[in-house]
Symmetry: none
Subunit: 275 residues, 2 copies
DNA sequence: GAAATCGTTCCGTATTATGAAATAGCGCCA
DNA sequence: TGGCGCTATTTCATAATACGGAACGATTTC
């Protein structure tokens, strides 16, 4: 291990990491994380070669990392289909993120009641990295219902929760986020121009609640209201969403009342605990 | 770097892993996982030394693994309190488990084992539209046995599965269902009055399991226990059922233990912690 | 029945993880 | 204010550990 200079540097490990951003990092762990992320993105599991290809690692290394994680059920291997999935233990660990946030624990019973009142799916989301991330959801009992698994991310500009959150932030903050993520058009009704979007925010501020009228998914309407902390900062938003057929124009004002009331009870619940 | 044989194998790192169960495992990754598990167990975050102590690693190693995970927001460090928590990304990854988990698939092996233990037919049912719908069943080997085709619906108030589910719901919910479907008398023993039924539910809550004593079919007894999800909501119930002749009063408590234990393993398989 | 494809294990190599120790922060008490 | 005890970080020499190419199996395909 002394004659490093003698050997041409090209041979050996295929990929030499750029020694700047990864200094002090544990390679194998970082690689395992990227594998996990890949698995989480795939809807129906991945084969070993799929995984190896997407993360850019040799199959043997990929396999070794996967089996290590399998040992603790972080990932699961389905023998029958030869596919790797995210495992139970990852779920259990991930859910402890929720428990560490009083918000979700407090909000859940109120969300449940709101679902009973409205009959529609109720979601709770926060802002994260310029996007909305859903933390919790209470599903409607209807056959035709809105569903978006907790833990998924959606753009802010075309979701009720996102707009409710943005409407209560400074103009600079809004600009920064729009600049970073853009106003991507997702459906015909997505507000895809800055002017229209800013008007919408003004409207939300005036009404106290946000509406997403098929701006994210065709046929899906959604009414949302922000939850404020004791410093009047919007820390989260809840929403009620369902098929446009059920969420008629006439019903909106009634639903909006229920949603804003629920948002306020969550806020007061948080305040009392001094979260 | 060629004389590997010359050096005595015993010296070196302080802890030599027992080369059997950890062969082919990636040490650093396995350690990182144990750190994550420790963090998940602690609801309110841990200091670095806490973590290092509980997983039995030097602080420097622990710190290096933590910062690597922090890079991808698998863990979060709260500067103000100097505490490490499970991070957003762990939540996002973990929740993708929901997409791949399947109650019936997870339950089946456990149901099979329960059938072997008890010798009786094991069924899995969920609540749908105020009724019980059976999703799966593992049949007893006896000639005389309980049978109910998967997919069939039965009233909640006179089935073990239904009662186990109802016992774990709010009073309003129970009232709504009873109002909608009534307490139809099916056999002589059916609990057909609200008072008797409510008493039965209280009893179930106390015991942790439900008994259907010929309330649905003459000569058929059934013991059932609910399966809870990660929010402690009852999502399903399993039952063991057979002829009253075989399911004697004395046998009930033994069978009940087996059923509740099986229900708990299904729950933990589905990601509810504390199985 | 041969070829191809994919998953798994082996094994020599040196890169990378390791942990002791040094250093940097941070209250806390005198 | 300054020194003391504590905990969090960073450094760095060392070799243990992760690495990946290649061989081996298992399965499917044609």
């Amino acid at each position: 291990m002394a004659e490093t200079a003698a050997r041409p540097r090209t041979r050996g490990r295929t990929r030499t990491r750029s020694r700047e951003d990864t200094a002090g990092q544990v390679q194998s762990l970082a690689r395992a994380i990227s594998i996990l992320k890949a698995l989480a993105r795939a809807d129906d599991g991945m084969t070993l070669t799929d995984v190896a290809l997407t993360v850019g690692l040799p199959p043997s290394t990929t396999h070794r990392l996967l089996t290590t994680m399998q040992h603790d059920r972080i990932v699961r291997f389905d023998q029958a289909t030869a596919l790797w999935h995210v495992g139970v233990e990852a779920f259990v660990i991930g859910n402890s993120f929720i428990r560490s946030r009083d918000l979700v624990v407090m909000a859940r019973p109120i969300m449940r009641r709101l679902m009973e009142e409205t009959g529609e799916t109720v979601k709770l989301g926060v802002q994260d990295d310029g996007e909305v991330i859903y933390l919790a959801q209470v599903e409607s009992r209807e056959t035709m219902r809105a569903y978006r698994a907790p833990g998924t991310r959606v753009p802010m500009h075309c979701s009720g929760v996102g707009k409710a959150l943005l409407a209560n932030q400074s103009e600079e903050e809004v600009n920064r986020i729009l600049q970073r993520h853009g106003l991507t058009r997702v459906t015909d009704k997505t507000l895809a121009t800055p002017v229209r979007f800013r008007d919408a925010l003004a409207q939300i501020r005036k009404q106290g609640y946000a509406i997403d009228d098929e701006e994210h998914a065709v046929g899906l309407r959604c009414i949302s209201s922000a939850v404020f902390n004791e410093h009047d900062e919007p820390i989260a938003a809840i929403s009620v969403s369902g098929p446009s057929a059920r969420i008629s124009d006439e019903k909106i004002s009634v639903l909006a009342g229920m949603v804003t009331r629920a948002a306020k009870s969550i806020a007061s619940e948080m305040g009392s605990r001094q979260g």
